[in-house]
């Protein structure tokens, strides 16, 4: 099969194809079995059938189908392989495979692994041990020799690293390992990029008795890396490089990402033909550029196409210097106040801890700021001055503001852009005819040219520049009378700017205008950061912990186990222990980038050697075993054949009519099942939401209900219930309150919080409530509920003061475990006496017992007002008058129990007491405010 890349495992089986004609002959003879039918009008039918051509034979296509099936099976048994791989000839005693797994191999790592796997397979076929080394791993990594299975395992475990290769060290180790195995064949699977010391490395590798070199390089190098970036005033630029073998014009898109990985800007990269460098620009606003964390070239899944940006590429550091003592004590009067407010949003402010300029200026210069703002600084100490001038000449931007000190200091050639007249000029004022001057259009030559002039700004004092020949080009802003307001000049690589007014609003209104912010912003954009600072902040030579690493595919990932802290100091190398990425902490990071600004991509050269060289390219193993697909096709044909035979037998034509009824029934069944399932499915959805006791809770809170404690004594409980019913009816008659049915609560189990008032008749015969129940009642009282204790023993107590009834003793026992506030009988001016009816006392079935409530001790009533003031509602009431007995009515509404003495008015008073208590419970001390209404109305003159 020269014309087809096809080979067979057992070509002899193909002889079986000769049997096909026999099969064809057999198939022609055996038609499918027909149905037999008796049919009397056969002679009529015979006329018709004669027209049909092949009554007794299989149709030709069925025969063809079956022949094809047989042919497929014969082919499948011959085990054909498509694109069979040619083995690399093996020689020597061992095979050494050296694979570059640096960043440049990340893009097509699978192909490299496949290629290496083939080499391992060939070595395995030849029975050779395999030495397997990766050039971007640690130098002390184990390299073998391995047997094929181990080598394959290690190969599959290996992965590309985001670091450059270290061929020298690894090749030396391989050479060392090959010393004991002379005549080994060496396979170099390179990433195609030259590195330093390649020649030495190859000499070491091949000079040690190797018998053969297999040289595998990628066909074309098409990687793009970002070598450098710079945050300029108007745009963020970066430099991309590519290998010089890639000479065609090329377009690429780079994108900038913020700290959450969001794509916030895009830029185009255009490599002209034959050029290896291209420049990209992100022309986006300054604030957005400050958010850049990384830039990456789209479609390049390798580490060199990603460049990380740390603080040094982003926000400008601005040093602030002032001589004013007021800074710390009165920040609003500090000359730096407006500057600070203006600069804070888009730059990092650096301030010195000392006001002594000799210390402050070096301190600030250590931070390598892009810009220094000096507010009204006169003369500088010499040492500080020298360093400041040097910094400025190297690219710093110095912004100075005028002020009385500077005006007094006089002219200073080095640190002032223009020559100043001594003293200052006052415009307006008592002794002047001049008016404060507004600012005119910004000169077109200056950096403020495109800003809107601040028409509302007026300047009343300024320092004046001497008119010189170059004053116009140095003027960045003018007053209406032509005198310069802002002047600037280049000094070396740096810029010197002078505002002729003070940075606070004393000389002019400029610092409090929006233009001030715009102008400072523009100057900040012009400035450049001067060198990098330590992210650690303390300036010590300590190491920075790895924070976020660039993975081999260019993604930012948490650091792996191999990453070591980055040593400070001289530029650290990018190696396996210091992979590219961010080092530092969340507060501050330093970017450690793979490519240096001067990096280039040089293709690797094949080493000069006398050994036989086999060149190869990376490729996948494309051998395809065709046995499975062929058998699958044969099975598919078999299914087709079965269907065709069934169809010819009429299986499908008669089925619909006969099966219609069952299928309709089945359809109905399916519908019914689905409906049933839907119903079954619907019910649990309801069940999720229901908690036990919900119904009781809803009943308890949908109406205001008065509760009573179920004592367990039937007669007491029925009287309590009837009493609360009677009170409810009275409340409905007399007030707007319409309580629901009284609720009997078991203090051991029931939720109490639903009820505003709980009536608790003390039954000395009942068992003592448990601690837990009393704790619950206590909690209820503390959280705003009220318990009305009724001992019902007004007339059963002895006459002497010390005697107590059993009910009272029981009440004392109960209260002993609660936090009972101090009590007092209801005073005459208590709000309880006035909440609905005016009630001097609170009789029940008995009269005479006081109603005890919480003592309002701190509630003063100095003015003898009708009611004492005081907050809160008493949590506890105690009476012995048997309220429920007086309130109790039977089903017909008649009182159940007589009052003692039998006085109809006493019952009415008892009801009124109940009404007052309920109103007190529900309205609280609001009634004590209401009693002031007449006086308020009187004062309003009504």
């Amino acid at each position: 099969m020269g014309w087809l890349p096809l080979s067979f495992g057992f070509p002899a089986i193909l002889v079986g194809l000769l049997a096909l004609p026999v099969i064809w002959w057999l198939l022609r003879l055996t038609p499918p079995k027909p149905q037999t039918e008796t049919f009397p009008p056969l002679r009529i039918l015979a006329h018709v059938v004669r027209k049909e051509e092949t009554p007794h034979q299989s149709p030709w296509w069925l025969t063809l189908l079956r022949l094809l099936m047989a042919a497929l099976i014969i082919f499948a048994l011959a085990e054909p392989v498509f694109n069979a791989r040619e083995a690399t000839p093996a020689s020597g005693s061992a095979t050494a495979i050296v694979i570059d797994n640096g960043w440049a191999s990340a893009n097509d790592w699978e192909v490299r692994v496949a290629t290496a796997e083939r080499l391992i397979a060939d070595a395995n076929d030849a029975g050779q041990p395999v030495v397997l080394a990766f050039t971007a791993e640690r130098a002390n990594e184990e390299i073998g020799p391995f047997d094929a299975a181990t080598a394959r395992e290690r190969l599959n475990a290996a992965e590309p690293r985001p670091v450059p290769t270290d061929r020298q060290a690894i090749y030396a180790r391989v050479a060392q390992a090959l010393e004991s195995m002379p005549g080994a064949s060496v396979a170099v699977l390179s990433d195609g990029l030259a590195a330093e010391g390649d020649e030495t490395a190859f000499t070491t590798l091949l000079g040690n008795g190797a018998s053969r070199l297999v040289w595998v390089t990628p066909g074309d190098l098409a990687m793009v890396g970002i070598a450098d970036s710079e945050n300029l005033a108007e745009a963020f630029t970066f430099t991309a490089i590519r290998p010089d073998t890639d000479a065609l014009p090329r377009q690429a898109v780079a994108a900038a990402f913020d700290d959450r990985g969001r794509r916030i800007a895009e830029a185009n990269l255009t490599f002209s033909a034959g050029e290896t460098e291209a420049e990209g620009r992100f022309a986006v606003p300054f604030e957005l550029r400050n958010d850049f964390v990384s830039i990456a070239v789209d479609g390049e899944n390798q580490a060199a196409s990603v460049r990380l940006l740390d603080e040094n590429s982003r926000r400008r550091r601005v040093g602030l210097i002032s001589q004013s003592e007021a800074d710390a004590a009165q920040p609003l009067l500090s000359p730096l106040y407006y500057i600070r407010r203006a600069l804070e949003p888009f730059s990092d402010l650096v301030e010195a801890s000392s006001t002594d300029l000799a210390e402050a200026i070096p301190q600030i210069l250590e931070q390598r700021p892009a810009m220094i703002v000096m507010a009204d600084v006169g003369t500088l100490p010499d040492t500080a001055r020298e360093r400041l001038v040097e910094w400025m000449n190297q690219g710093g931007t110095l912004v100075r503001f005028a002020g009385s000190r500077m005006a007094a200091a006089g002219d200073d050639e080095e640190l002032l852009p223009v020559r100043l007249r001594t003293g200052e000029r006052a415009l307006g004022g008592a002794l002047s005819w001049t008016e404060p001057q507004p600012v005119t259009e910004f000169p077109a030559s200056g950096p403020f040219a495109d800003l809107a002039p601040p028409s509302e700004v007026t300047v009343s004092r300024q320092v004046l520049a001497e008119p010189t020949s170059d004053i116009v080009e140095r003027t960045w802003a003018n007053l209406a009378d032509g005198t310069p307001l802002v002047t600037g000049a280049r000094r070396g690589d740096g810029t010197l700017v002078l505002f002729h007014v003070t940075p606070e609003a004393t000389w002019s209104s400029l610092p409090i205008s929006g233009s001030f912010v715009e102008m400072l912003r523009r100057i900040v954009q012009l400035s450049r950061n001067q060198g990098r600072i330590d992210a650690a902040g303390d300036g010590s030579a300590g190491a920075l912990a790895p924070y976020r690493m660039i993975a081999a595919d260019g993604q930012l990932v948490p650091p792996g186990p191999e990453a070591r802290p980055l040593a400070q100091g001289a530029t650290p190398a990018v190696e396996i222990e210091n992979p590219p990425g961010f080092y530092g902490t969340e507060e501050g990071v330093v970017a450690h980038n793979l490519l240096q600004p001067d990096a280039t991509f040089t293709p690797i050269a094949q080493p000069q050697t006398t050994l036989p060289v086999t060149r190869a390219a990376y490729a996948f193993d494309e051998a395809v075993d065709l046995k499975g697909p062929l058998i699958a096709a044969a099975i598919a044909l078999m299914v087709l054949d079965t269907l065709a035979v069934l169809w010819m037998g009429g299986a499908f034509a008669r089925r619909p009519a006969r099966k219609a009824a069952p299928s309709a029934a089945a359809g109905a069944l399916v519908v019914a099942l689905a409906g049933g399932l839907a119903l079954l499915h619907a019910s649990p959805v309801w069940a999720q939401d229901i908690q036990p006791g919900d119904e009781e809770a809803i009943a308890a809170i949908s109406q205001t209900r008065i509760a009573y404690v179920v004592t367990g004594n039937g007669s007491i409980d029925s009287v309590s219930r009837a009493g609360l019913q009677g009170l409810s009816r009275y409340l409905i008659d007399k007030t707007a309150l319409e309580p629901g049915d009284p609720a009997g609560v078991d203090i051991e189990t029931d939720e109490l919080a639903f009820y505003p008032l709980i009536y608790w008749p003390i039954d000395e015969a009942a068992t003592m409530p448990s601690e837990a129940a009393l704790a619950r009642v206590d909690a209820y009282m503390r959280e705003g509920g009220t318990v009305l204790f009724d001992t019902r023993d007004q007339y059963s107590t002895g006459f002497d003061a010390g005697s107590t009834s059993p009910s009272t003793r029981r009440l004392r026992d109960i209260l002993a475990s609660m936090n009972v506030p101090p009590l007092e009988p209801v005073p005459q001016d208590h709000v309880l006496t006035k909440t609905f009816f005016i009630m001097p006392d609170f009789p029940g079935r008995f009269s005479g017992s006081p109603l005890w409530v919480e003592a309002s001790m701190d509630a003063a009533n100095p003015d003898n007002r009708p009611v004492r003031t005081g907050d809160g509602v008493t949590p506890i009431m105690i009476t012995a008058n048997d309220f429920a007995g007086a309130w109790a009515i039977d089903a017909s509404g008649a009182p159940m129990l007589p009052t003692v003495p039998s006085d109809p008015m006493q019952r009415i008073y008892a009801y009124r007491a109940g009404v007052n208590i309920m109103m007190y419970m529900l309205t609280g001390n609001y009634k004590s405010d209401q009693v002031h209404v007449p006086i308020l109305l009187e004062r309003l003159g009504q």
């Binding site: 038609p31 499918p32 027909p34 049919f39 009397p40 039918l45 018709v48 009429g650």
Partner: protein, 302 residues
């Protein structure tokens, strides 16, 4: 898959004697069935509906000179000035030959049919025998009996059939004379010219024939699909159709063409041609045949 049609008897197709025995065993039941059918169709004697020798009044007509005076009905003539003659309805015993096809193809019965073709043919024959016997006609089975008149004609015919044994495939038509009727019950599946050939002597002799074609619905609708082997119950010949549903249209056309040409031929001769499907009621055909027999077709008017 269940077959659509089958021969009603599980006996050897050519064993005519066995078939005859089977037929004999069927006859008593069929006789009962025939009587039931007759009762639904007819109750009573119908005259010839033309004047002739008889006992019943047919019409008064004006006296024509030359007629015998004895025929004048004086009673009627006394009412007015005209003289009338009383005509009597013609009553004459009529010979009706009955024959049902005994060939094996008549044993066929498909799933949709209620009875086999032979059953239906015998039921119709016996019902006609009963019907005609009651009306006093002479009935006969060609080759089996001579014409006879009996009130229990159907029973006698049935007893003849029971004892007949093997019946010839075609009736003996020699005894048939002019002015007699013959009822031929068959499926008429032979080619039309063959059928016409053996019926032609009847036409030439002036016998009025009534053909009743018994047809099975499966034969008419041809509901077969798929690869099917058809076998002829008479000859045993086999035919295999690759896809039977493709043949159905052509077959139906031929089948109905045969029927139409036979019917047209009968119409030309003044004969009646009735089709009875075995999934329909026997009485339908009986009514039609009876109507055809009692209709005055007028011999010689063709």
């Amino acid at each position: 898959m269940a077959r659509i049609g089958e021969a009603a008897a599980p006996v050897a197709a050519r064993d005519a004697l066995a078939r005859a025995r089977l037929r004999a065993s069927l006859v008593p039941d069929l006789l009962v069935e025939a009587r039931r059918v007759v009762n639904t169709v007819i109750a009573g004697w119908h005259g010839r509906r033309k004047r002739g020798i008889g006992e019943n009044f047919w019409q008064f007509r004006p006296y024509v000179e030359g007629e015998t005076m004895s025929r004048i009905d004086w009673r009627r003539s006394a009412r007015d000035d005209h003289i009338y003659v009383r005509d009597k309805e013609w009553e004459a015993a009529h010979t009706v030959w009955l024959w049902a096809d005994p060939s094996p193809s008549m044993l066929y019965k498909s799933q949709t049919a209620t009875v086999s073709k032979e059953s239906r043919a015998l039921v119709l024959t016996l019902a006609l025998a009963e019907l005609l016997s009651r009306s006093g006609e002479r009935i006969a089975w060609p080759g089996l009996t001579d014409p006879f008149t009996a009130r229990n004609g159907a029973e006698r015919l049935a007893s003849h059939l029971i004892h007949a044994g093997e019946l010839p495939a075609r009736p003996e038509l020699l005894p048939l004379r002019r002015f007699s009727d013959i009822v031929v019950v068959s499926d008429f599946l032979d080619p039309v010219d063959e059928t016409q050939a053996w019926l032609d002597p009847l036409a030439r002799r002036g016998v009025r024939a009534h053909l009743i074609e018994i047809s099975d619905p499966a034969e008419e609708t041809f509901p077969y699909t798929g690869r099917t082997e058809f076998s002829d119950p008479e000859t045993g010949q086999k035919l295999t159709a690759g896809r039977a549903e493709l043949l159905s249209e052509d077959y139906r056309r031929l089948y109905t063409a045969r029927r139409q040409s036979l019917a047209a031929w009968c119409g030309k001769l003044g004969w009646s041609y009735t089709v009875n499907h075995t999934d329909r009621l026997a009485s339908e055909a009986l009514v039609k045949v009876h109507m055809a027999m009692t209709a005055d077709v007028g011999y010689g008017t063709r």
